[in-house]
């Protein structure tokens, strides 16, 4: 149990946490000869946990945890034989190694409900755990975070809170823009740690929907956050061109902004901005399917009148020209054998033109807005 206490205390004091491959012996040189924190490494507030030692400590903690009389903790009286400091040490260590341990998460929720742990501290703890690669993609942890935000928002109200929160509950919360901005930052860090992190993007999507609801009720702060997020997502897509989730989130933001903008010219400027961004990316990286899908979506937005929902074919140099140009460029560009990349580009361009031919009639007549169900987002 000594290891459990040590780790829990170091976790409390650490500014960053990382897992190290192997065991303590592999990191002895960096840790130094008189490492008082052994088997863990703790330098300048940075905690390194050798994986083998983490699992040893986890085993001890989960055994001790399973022997606790937890029922009395979960019941209304809120008292139990386990001291809450001891409980927290066990659950912190357990969740570090196994972030999907639902009982440990529920104990932490119960401690928050009983007022024995603040939402703030618990949010800080989950943010730390989410910096670990394997933990950053655990759906329960993100759900736990949403529960905490719901709880924090209800502070001062006495209604009973279930140990679960639905997505709808979350999206209708009146969360301040500062809190939402922090959440978006946590999501970004998690996505850097673990690329194509579905649950991090889903959390981001829910936060954006929450923000959109507030913006639509005339909150200027939230509208401003949406604007910032639009720029941030554009920047992210520039650097992660295969990231479908980022494109999906961007369109949630665009639709939310379109609902907030008051003039037609502002709306038009916004859709043009996105269309141009998509086109630029497509010209730079034409072999990426995600960018073709981004362009399709941006194109649809562009040709749909935001006021009426009706479609009109854009004038002059259309996207079709762009696709044809790309296709021909790559057909001609290769000397001798066509490269794999060129083949990909030609295939994507062909798909795009087929999609366009199927959906839009040329000739400039208005067509009712089509469903976008065919897009694989």
């Amino acid at each position: 149990m000594e290891g459990v206490h040590k780790l829990a205390r170091l976790l409390e004091a650490a500014t960053s946490v990382e897992l190290l491959p192997g065991d303590a012996a592999a990191w002895a040189e960096i840790a130094g000869p008189d490492n008082e924190h052994a088997p863990f490494v703790f330098i300048d507030g940075n905690l390194g946990i050798p994986e083998k030692d983490l699992f040893k400590v986890y085993y001890v903690a989960s055994k001790a945890f399973s022997k606790l009389p937890l029922r009395s903790l979960f019941e209304a009286s809120g008292t139990s034989n386990a001291s809450e400091a001891g409980l927290l040490e066990l659950t912190s260590v357990i969740l570090l190694a196994n972030s999907a341990h639902q009982t440990a998460l529920n104990v932490q929720k119960t401690l928050v409900l009983n007022g024995r742990r603040t939402c703030q501290d618990e949010l800080k703890f989950t943010a730390t755990v989410l910096t670990l690669k394997q933990s950053s993609k655990v759906s329960m942890l993100w759900h736990h975070r949403r529960w905490l935000l719901l709880r924090q928002n209800l502070d001062g109200e006495t209604q009973a809170l279930p140990l679960s929160v639905t997505d709808i509950d979350f999206v209708t919360l009146k969360l301040p823009s500062k809190i939402l901005a922090d959440e978006l930052q946590v999501c970004s860090s998690a996505c850097e740690t673990y690329p194509r992190n579905y649950y991090a993007w889903f959390h981001r999507y829910l936060c954006l929907r929450c923000c959109a609801t507030r913006a639509a009720s005339d909150s200027a702060e939230h509208a401003s956050l949406l604007e910032q997020e639009k720029n941030e997502l554009k920047r992210w897509i520039n650097l992660h061109v295969s990231d479908h989730s980022a494109v999906h989130c961007l369109f949630v933001v665009i639709e939310a902004l379109l609902a907030v903008l008051t003039t037609f010219s502002d709306a038009e400027a916004l859709v043009m901005e996105i269309r141009d961004h998509a086109l630029q990316l497509l010209q730079s990286y034409p072999s990426h399917e995600n960018l073709w899908l981004y362009f399709r979506r941006a194109f649809e937005q562009w040709v749909t009148n935001p006021a009426t929902g009706r479609v009109s074919i854009p004038p002059a140099r259309t996207a079709e020209d762009e696709a044809k140009i790309l296709m021909n460029t790559h057909k001609r560009s290769s000397v001798g054998k066509r490269s794999d990349e060129d083949k990909l580009v030609v295939d994507h361009a062909r798909c795009y033109l087929t999609w366009k031919g199927g959906k839009w009639k040329s000739g400039g007549s208005d067509t009712p807005r089509s469903l976008t169900g065919g897009d694989r987002m």
Binding site: S16, V17, E18, L19, L20, P21, G22, D23, A26, W27, E29, I30, V41, I43, D44, N46, G48, E51, K133, E192, N238, L239, H240, V241, S242, Q280, L281, S284, Y285
Partner: protein, 206 residues
């Protein structure tokens, strides 16, 4: 996509040597702080340098090698008549090859123009702050758009692609042995390589 490190290396006079510690690092810039945690950073840096030096020793004049391994891609360019100077970049696999090539071409060209040859032997005398601004600027290849479009100068270079570092090595050489024997790697880094390899989570991807 990202550029994690840029190096300007100088090959030793002895053309036959396979000792990576003989490849000098004249200039470097990296983003390791954002890439790995604090404790693993020095081993990570060491290993990036070891990999690029090892590849540089086996790159012909006028040639370029691109090696994808362990979730990263190492690009090494050795310009013709470059006074044994080699440019190296460590990126993620998504980073466009053409841009990496253009970046290294510019890095080595600018270095050779700005840094006098007599300073090559003394690292303290080399000032080339552009390597840091290039690392920042080239994070987004679209900003280097002109480079992406200009193909003519670059088409002369012979490019070899590799799926692993092992395939760069000469017949009979093993990466494990090179790591073990290297004078440039600390024992901590060697231990890190062995453990990460055993666990199958490769050395530099965490």
């Amino acid at each position: 996509m990202k550029v994690i490190a840029l190096y300007v290396l100088r090959l030793p006079e002895d053309k036959e040597t396979k000792d990576d510690s003989k490849v000098e690092i004249l200039c470097e810039a990296d983003d390791a702080d954002n890439e790995v945690g604090y404790i693993k950073r020095s081993a990570f840096r060491d290993f990036m340098k070891f990999s690029t030096r090892t590849i540089a020793l086996r790159t012909d004049e006028g040639g370029m090698q691109m090696v994808e391994d362990a979730g990263y891609k190492m690009h090494v360019l050795r310009p013709v008549d470059g006074k044994r100077i080699v440019g190296a970049a460590v990126t993620d696999p998504e980073y466009p090859d053409r841009v990496a090539q253009g970046l290294l071409s510019k890095l080595t060209k600018d270095f050779l123009e700005e840094v006098p040859e007599e300073n090559f032997g003394n690292r303290a005398k080399i000032t080339f702050p552009a390597i840091h601004s290039m690392l920042r600027k080239y994070q987004d290849p679209k900003e280097a758009d002109p480079i992406m479009k200009v193909q003519k100068d670059l088409d002369e270079t012979k490019i070899i692609l590799h799926k692993t570092i092992e395939s760069v090595l000469d017949r009979g050489e093993k990466l494990d042995n090179l790591v073990d024997r290297s004078n440039a790697l600390s024992s901590q880094t060697k231990m890190f390589y062995k453990t990460a390899k055993k666990q199958n989570s490769c050395c530099v991807v965490m």
